[in-house]
Structures are given as structure tokens and as C-alpha cells.
Assembly symmetry: C2
Homo-oligomer: 365 residues x 2
């Protein structure tokens, strides 16, 4: 199989956590053993937790060595009061380790001390040049060196001055490095990160039935809405139109996510008076601003607009600052409701499914 | 990685050719070498041509041995006047071999005579029990035996009395067999085949903009339409509503496919008189019937209904005989046109993309 095949697996895994890694970039990593067998697919999931490379490396070591796996969960359970040892099925345990947020420092150190050269000669695919700086953990590039990887394939170089330099570290250690595989796709994955680094990334979220209706009650299924809530939990600001607030009376919280943080809200409205009993005013720890200006949205690094017809029209006319991407949730059900009307043309950036719903990131063209 | 991971690759490859293999079932196959490295992903593409297993095996042998690859294309070019030798890039050549319809008998025999035990100890994932009967070619099960595969993982057993027995052949030769991996998904893939074997498989095709409009000019992109034409080229009968014929004046041919066969058409209409200048009446080699009965559709093994609002309503009311599946093409563009209205609920069976368009098979629930 081609390098593109494996890089695509890494990219798809990274996309699952797009936005959720804020302020870090979304990154994915695939590890193959020296004979070319896929051992693991990992991603960076949340800032402050494991990077993509140690995530994939941990899973790879657990996959090939039951001793390593057992020792890791024994130590992790003791240190963090988790209950990994209770899961007896290996497949289930690996799924669990893939899904949870693991402590970055402990896991990195544990890998460094216990890898036992099990990945000697291995190959990795990473969507972004491995970091070379000491942040929460030492550099990921060092991991590949220490574990004696033979080759690292990279989609995009890191132009960030603090984090870049990973390629040199790898090459200086004699690791074969190939850069630029699915470079364009890797670049699209990085776009939100590069935008908020430059000051702002804004996008418009819309939820539709399969026949384009945005009205008539709940549209998306629970998995879609939980994903939406996890994004709400991460953004600096949620912008909503005054009419939507009045008609739909949304709460705009993150209740479907464990420890979800309700986002600050900007109600974009000429009319400044709103019924004080509206649910969104009564969510703990949130600020609400009512304004006919989007200045605050322009100044916040990560902003989500939630809307329907009104915001779609504004986006088409370029009246929502920096909104070039659309996040679309679409159910598989037809509704007996009229559709949103527009002539916006979209270019698909990434698409996937939440059970019968689909969701996707699109560029507005 | 789990068996499910590899079986999923085989299933996705098979779905690309759903319906197009008629009257054969859609089947996919993945081959790993003895160390677990993926060598190839193949599928059955068209009745009369290679089955999924020899397709994947051929690609696997070409992947690992340049000598085998060279000898194969040299012989194939000589025998069939193809020009594989002109393609110098190996990756491109493998893509080409994956894409074209290869002669079944020649390729099967070539593999049998030239495999050189290169796949000794290999592992295969097949979505359907390998065949055990002598059709155009000898049984696929024999291939695995002859090439000394160590293990074959199968999603669904074959209940067909003529083709089944593959598992026994494998087991009697000492090959490890695991059955039932992603059995439900494998079963969904087989459903159309099982239906037309019992007399009839019918489905409704709809094309929509992202906001649910089916009007206002061309909706789907060229790739979607070519796929649609390849399906038209395969079905026994295309059913269309009288109003659609009058208003849209469609030609309903298969011009976007090389050697595409224009389907026979049943115009479903109370009114029997149609303007003789309508384009669909002037397509070579086609029969057109105008009727207010769907009897002919019920009696044809493979039937596609193409429609919009009218057929959607009939499908919801169970008035289109045996129509339980919807084939939906959906573009990424919003249109300034009203949507189709319905309360049909759909369950996603398979979804994929054609560039910015998406398409999917759905069960009507
Ligand atoms: Zn890192
Ligand atoms: Zn066969």
C-alpha cells in the first residue's frame, strides 16, 4: 500500500478532534512495525494531554506486548486511580486507552523507560512535523530517536518557530524522513490552527435534515449533538442571532459533554432588550453580551456562529468576519418543513458520520 | 489492529461496485502477508470478470514482486492488446490494474502458474465465503489452498447451494478459517444480491442539493452522474414518472459510461399519450413501455426508480413494489429552490463521496 494510504488513516483520525485540540493543532499518527504491519492509529485529542505521536506509540507498544500493556495500566491505575485493570478484554482495553485523555508527562516518561526497543526499525506517519520543544513533555521527535524508529513520513512541515526543528532531530539521528505526503490535505487539517494563531478562526455551524430543513424541532441525533457540545465547550465565543434567541429559546450549553464548559455568548442583534427568562441567560459561569457589532467576535481567537437562514445569508455576503468554513450536521431524515434557501457553494474539506447523521467541514467558495 | 479494521476495508471496497456486479454479489477482499502487512485491497467489479479474491491476490503478488508484475503485464499485453507496459510508474500501474476489468480465466490461470509461493502464510479477509464451484474460472477457495494461505477471515457464509462449500475446502486443506467478522455489515452488502436472486431488487434513486432541492437544473457533479449512468447501464428496467418525463424531458441514457447500455424504460403514467419527440424515445436499443401498472417492474430482477417528490411519496406509502432502499446523491451546494417534502426516515447503509458530492445507500424505515 502507498504512503498516501497510511497518511490518510492518520489524517482521518486527526480530523475527529479538529477544534477540540485548541489551542494546539489537530495531529494524527500511524505506527507500523518494521515489517510494515499497522500497529496503531492515534491522535492528539486535547491540549495539555498526550500528543499524537506518544498516543500512537503507546497503543503500538500495548498492541505488541501484553507485558508492556499490563505494566502500564498497573502503574497508571495506581497513580491516577483509574480502573483499566478491570477491563479484561484486550481489544476493549486498547479501545479505552485510545479514547481517554491520558496524562502527558507520566505516559511520555513511561514509554521512554519501558519501550524495551520493541519498536526498533518501526515506521511512523505523522500529519505534522513532530515537535522539538520542551512543553508539558519533552519533544516528540526525541521519542522516535530514543525508540530507534527507522523512518518517519510527514505530511506538513511545522512553520512555527518554537515547535519546528523536529525533522532535523530525526535526520541527525539517522532516521529516514519523507516530507510532503498528502501535503494539501495536511494543510487543510492545520488551517484552523494557523488561523487562530494569527488571531482568529471563525466558522458557521448549521444543522439540517437531509432535505435541507432547519426548523421543526430537534434535527441532529444525540451523537451529533454531543460532538456539537464538545465544540461549544472549547470555543472562546458563541455568536447567535437575536431572532433565533427569541424564537428557539436555546440554552446553548454543553450538557451532553462530561465537564462541558458553557461558552460565552454574543447575541448579535440591533434590538438590545431580551426577555430575562430566556434559558441562555441562566447558565452558570457564562458571560452574555448583546450587541449589534461583531467586534468581540473579531477579537476572540476561536469563534463559532450557530445559525440558519439569517447567518447563512450574512456568510454568503461576507458579513460574518473571517467565516470561511461551515460545519454542517445533516440527519438522514426528511422533514415536512421548508428548506434554508441560499446559493452558497461549498467545497468539502472533511466528512464523516455519526451513526445515521453525517457531518462535515466545508469551505465556502 | 482488529479483524474488524481489515474487514471494513474489504467491505468499503466492495460497496464501490454495489449493483454493478449484477447478477453476481458485490464482494471485497484484503490480503495481508504473513507478517500482517496489507498487500492489497480488491473487489469483484463486473460479472464475467475476476472475482474479488483473485483480484486482491493478483494485486498482492504485483505489490511484492516486480518480476511477477512485469511478467504478468507482458503476457497480458500480448494476449489482449492492452498497453500496461507503457506505464512506467509502479504505483500508477497498480492503480490501473486495480481499476480495469481483467480477463477472469487468463488471470486466474496466470496466478496459479506463477505465484511462486510468494503468498505462503498469507492472510485474507473476504466479505463472502469464497466460491467452491467451477464457473467462468475454477473455485476461488482453491486459489487460497494452492497459494498456501495460512488464514482466511470471512464476514458472511454463502447460503447459495451451488457456490457454497468454500469453507470446507479451506478447512480440509488446513487453512484457519474465522467466520462472522462484521457479519451484519457483510449481510447488508449482500442484500441486493439475495433480493434479486429471489426475483426482484428495486430501489429509488434521488438527487438533491445540500438543502434538499431536486429542481433548478443539474444537481450532481460529473462523477456522481457517471456513477449513476453505470448503474443505469446495469439495471433491467428504469421506472420514471409521467410528469417527470413531460417536464424534465430526460434522455435517461448512459452516455457518461464507456460502452454504456441505455436501460429499458417504464413510464409510470395514467395518461398514455406522450410527445413523440421526447428524447428518451429516440435512444437506440431501448424499449419503452407506458403503463399505469408497475407489473413489469415487479417481474424484472433489478429495477431502479428515478424520481423526486412523486416517487418519494409513493415509496413512503409502500406503493412502489419492493422499494426498501434509497440511493441518494447529494451535492455540497445550496440552491435557491424549494425542497422535496416528506417525512421519510432513513437508516444509513453505506455512504461515500464523489469529490464534493456525497452519495449513499439508505434503508427506508
Ligand atoms: Zn509533540
Ligand atoms: Zn470466486
Amino acid at each position: 500500500m502507498s504512503d498516501e494510504f497510511y497518511m490518510n488513516l492518520a489524517l482521518n483520525e486527526a480530523w475527529k478532534y479538529q477544534i477540540l485540540t485548541y489551542p494546539n493543532p489537530a495531529v494524527g499518527c500511524v505506527v507500523l512495525d518494521k515489517s510494515g504491519k499497522i500497529l496503531s492509529i492515534g491522535a492528539h485529542k486535547k491540549a495539555g494531554f498526550l500528543h499524537a505521536e506518544p498516543s500512537a506509540i503507546l497503543l503500538a507498544l500495548c498492541e505488541i506486548s501484553d507485558d508492556f500493556l499490563h505494566k502500564f495500566i498497573l502503574n497508571y491505575d495506581q497513580k491516577f486511580n483509574t480502573n483499566f485493570l478491570d477491563i479484561s478484554d484486550k481489544h476493549e482495553l486498547l479501545e479505552k486507552l485510545k479514547e481517554v485523555y491520558l496524562n502527558a508527562v507520566f505516559t511520555y516518561d513511561f514509554i521512554m523507560q519501558n519501550h524495551g526497543d520493541l519498536l526498533d526499525g518501526a515506521k511512523a506517519y505523522v500529519t505534522l512535523e513532530p515537535c522539538s520543544h520542551y512543553g508539558k513533555t519533552p519533544p516528540c521527535a526525541n521519542l522516535f530517536v530514543q525508540l530507534k524508529f527507522a523512518e518517519v513520513v510527514i505530511s506538513c512541515e511545522d512553520k512555527n518557530k518554537i515547535a519546528s526543528g523536529g525533522i532535523s532531530i530525526l535526520q541527525n539521528a539517522g532516521i529516514k524522513v519523507k516530507v510532503g505526503v498528502l501535503k494539501q490535505d495536511g494543510g487543510m487539517l492545520l488551517k484552523p490552527f494557523l488561523s487562530w494563531q494569527e488571531g482568529n478562526f471563525s466558522f458557521l455551524k448549521v444543522a439540517l435534515s437531509v432535505n435541507g430543513a432547519a426548523t421543526g424541532g430537534v434535527i441532529s441525533n444525540e451523537t451529533s449533538r454531543a460532538h456539537m457540545h464538545s465544540i461549544r465547550s472549547i470555543v472562546d465565543l458563541l455568536v447567535i442571532g437575536g431572532n433565533t434567541v427569541r424564537i428557539d429559546r436555546p440554552k446553548l450549553d454543553a450538557r451532553l459533554v462530561k465537564n462541558g464548559k458553557s461558552p460565552n455568548v454574543l447575541i448579535f442583534s440591533r434590538e438590545q432588550k431580551f426577555d430575562e427568562s430566556l434559558p441562555l441567560f441562566h447558565v452558570k459561569g457564562r458571560e452574555v453580551e448583546i450587541s449589534n457589532s461583531l467586534l468581540r467576535a473579531k477579537k476572540s481567537p476561536l469563534v463559532m456562529y450557530e445559525g440558519a437562514q439569517e447567518f447563512l445569508n450574512l456568510a454568503k455576503n461576507g458579513a460574518l468576519p473571517n467565516v470561511k468554513w461551515l460545519l454542517l450536521y445533516q440527519s438522514s431524515n426528511f422533514k415536512n418543513e421548508p428548506n434554508l434557501l441560499s446559493q452558497i457553494y461549498l467545497k468539502s474539506v472533511f466528512r464523516s458520520n455519526f451513526a445515521d447523521d453525517s457531518y462535515g467541514w466545508y469551505e465556502i467558495v
